[in-house]
């Protein structure tokens, strides 16, 4: 499982970084989104991988922490997802404005000669 997850994160972030270096705004937003997904998975993995373990404590009785997954990375991921989603939406608007104002989807607003 560790291998699959790390390869997944690597592929996501690798493709994202490659797209980020491309000159078109659409490639940028896809690249940024892929990086955000990779980063979210990465944060999640920092709580150590655990299968079939709930993050929330059951009420009552003694608690063995080993039976539970670390809840903090999960909470962090939720926050990061929300923020990443909002900023991607905001960037999408700026992208459209730039396209409308310049008539080009190049990041510099004009086609290279």
């Amino acid at each position: 499982m560790e291998l699959v997850l790390s390869i997944g994160i690597g592929v996501l972030i690798g493709s994202g970084v490659w797209l980020l270096f491309r000159p078109r705004t659409y490639q940028l937003i896809i690249g940024l989104s892929l990086i955000a997904y990779g980063v979210n998975l990465f944060i999640f993995s920092m709580g150590r991988l655990k299968v079939a373990a709930p993050p929330v404590l059951a009420s009552g009785g003694p608690v063995n922490p080993a039976d539970y997954a670390d809840p903090i990375p999960q909470a962090l991921v939720l926050t990061a997802i929300v923020i990443g989603f909002a900023t991607a939406a905001l960037f999408l608007v700026v992208l459209l404005v730039s396209r409308g104002l310049t008539g080009s989807d190049h990041v510099d607003g004009r086609e290279p000669n």
Partner: protein, 546 residues
């Protein structure tokens, strides 16, 4: 728990509530929105001053104060804390001192040139204040995003192809930097299991050697996110273009934005990698020092090469960032004290300069502007908006006032006596040459000489560039174009410059405050103890029972 204890959270809550309230009103009610915004910003300034007083007043228990506010009443390593110490109080005051003039300036016309200016402005203040107050790494990320999201909106304020292009670059770079921020935070959490800064400082010393590399990598990645904000070479190429493209009042408040990265490095570097950090002591200091110096050199070249004044100011921000980064890299209290003094002075001065540029450029004949090499990047489209109605009486002898302000800005930015820029640089130089106090026969390293040389040359470069810009503007023949400048536009600049004059006159007490700040930064035990032992508030039921 009296009301005074809740004062710490007011700098976050007040702008949030004001920003939300301003959304309720229709865009056309400019006057009402402006009034609410100004009142709220003034209140924020008063709260910041009260907090500064609170942070500077020693309590009976100890002389080093750090007021800790437990959010949700959870004890420190588990819940999120807000921490008020001298450094954060200083930054809060600086923020509100910059916010008020920028806001007043924008009321002359900028605030009408796009929607939701006032809301975004307040949310920017909320993000800044939160970032200065928080004691938790992930919470810092959240406040960073708040301030960045509103800065994206403000950056695009006024629209136009130039701003959209610069804004697009600005947004992409900051989104990428935010991803690095998250990766760094996650790695640090993965190694140490905590995100609370004080708890982190305790745990870093006991990280096993096998994990040390991961911790360093995490801290390095996190540092890059802050260095992008601060504009360290080679991460800061976006900065001059973005600041030049932003509307004048926005650029003026953005002057503190690059200092947020500096603030975090100033806080975290001695806290996490100070003398107590075991094998990680001094991590990153060389990088900061070398990077800072290269940034200074790059900024100096940029300052000399810029034709447009906006770019000059942008490159000057790089110079001041470089100076501060190198001073942080020196990692001793006297240099940090000088750097803090310099930070305040240079931020106020560059903010005034951004406001002044717009007024001064009205003097210049547009035809003369064509000569400017960077005309292309500089843009004609900004001029169009000026045709809009400008109600009010033109101040007589406008040029004289503008000239005086311009010269004062020049003195401040170059760091020449008698103004506060000189004191800041002098304090840094003194500290650099006497790291162990005034002793005979201490040897100086090569980096010290290079840093001192760059510091002096940077002043010379700023002087040359500003003199040149001044000659082109004020001594060029003016063909019947005395600009119309409103009192509302010149007063904020005068206010900022008077603050610098005040900083010069009260240099002694302010320098003492900076020294105390620097000392508590480099001896963070009080901070750590203050956060980790902060008492919880007893529940009202229990309080009533006995």
């Amino acid at each position: 728990m009296g009301w005074l204890d809740h004062l710490v959270i007011i700098p976050v809550l007040l702008p949030l509530v004001t920003g939300a309230l301003l959304l309720m009103f229709d865009e056309r009610r400019h006057k009402l929105k402006a009034t609410i915004n100004v009142v709220s910003t003034i209140c924020l300034g008063l709260v910041a001053l009260a907090l500064l007083d609170l942070a500077n007043t020693p309590t009976a228990a100890n002389t080093e104060t750090a007021s800790v506010y437990l959010l949700g009443n959870w004890p420190a390593p588990f819940g999120i804390v807000l921490v008020l110490d001298r450094l954060s109080a200083l930054m809060l005051v600086l923020t509100s001192l910059l916010a008020l003039p920028a806001l007043i300036y924008s009321l002359s016309r900028w605030h009408k040139s796009g929607p939701h200016f006032h809301t975004l402005f307040q949310l920017l203040l909320m993000g800044l204040n939160g970032a200065f107050l928080t004691g938790d790494l992930f919470n810092l990320f959240v406040f960073f995003e708040v301030l960045l999201a509103s800065s994206y909106g403000l950056m695009l304020h006024g629209s136009g192809p130039l701003r959209v292009k610069a804004g697009l670059h600005y947004i992409v770079i900051n989104l990428a930097a935010s991803s690095l921020f998250l990766i760094g935070v996650a790695m640090i959490y993965g190694v140490t299991g905590t995100l609370n800064m004080a708890d982190l400082a305790v745990r870093i010393a006991s990280v096993p050697d096998a994990d040390r590399m991961l911790l360093d990598a995490g801290a390095g990645i996190l540092g890059i996110a802050f260095l992008v904000k601060a504009g360290m070479w080679p991460l800061g190429f976006w900065l001059p273009t973005a600041y030049n493209a932003a509307a004048a009042p926005v650029a003026a408040i953005f002057a503190i934005l690059s200092k947020v990265g500096i603030y975090v490095l100033m806080r975290l570097s001695p806290l996490l990698f100070g003398a107590e950090a075991g094998a990680s002591t001094g991590f990153g200091d060389e990088w900061l020092m070398v990077g800072g110096m290269v940034t200074m050199a790059f900024g100096i070249i940029g300052v000399l090469a810029s034709q447009a004044k906006g770019r000059l100011a942008g490159f000057y921000i790089l110079v001041s960032s470089g100076t501060l980064l190198a001073s942080i890299g020196m990692a001793n209290a006297p240099t940090t004290a000088g750097a803090l003094f310099y930070l305040v002075s240079s931020t106020l001065a560059v903010s005034a300069f951004f406001l002044l540029i717009e007024l001064v450029d009205r003097v210049q004949d547009p035809a003369a502007n064509v000569l400017a090499v960077t005309m292309d990047a500089y843009g004609d489209d900004m001029e169009e908006e000026e045709a809009a109605e400008e109600v009010g009486v033109a101040i007589p002898a406008t040029l004289v006032i503008l000239g005086i302000c311009f010269a004062s800005c020049g003195l401040l930015l170059a760091g020449l006596p008698p103004l506060s820029g000189f004191i800041g640089k002098f304090a840094i130089l003194t500290a650099v040459f006497n790291p162990n106090g005034l002793t005979q026969g201490s040897t100086l390293s090569l980096s010290t000489w290079v840093f001192a040389g760059l510091l002096v040359v940077s002043g010379l470069a700023a002087m040359i560039a500003i003199t040149r810009a001044g000659i082109q503007t004020f001594w060029a023949p003016i063909e019947g174009r005395v600009p119309r400048v409103l009192l509302m536009e010149i007063a904020p600049i005068a206010f900022l410059l008077m603050l610098c004059v005040g900083q010069t006159i009260f240099g002694g007490p302010i320098m003492r405050y900076m020294e105390q700040t620097a000392q508590s930064l480099h001896a963070p035990e009080t901070y750590i103890q203050g956060v980790l032992t902060a008492p919880r508030v007893p529940s009202p039921a229990k309080e009533a029972a006995p």
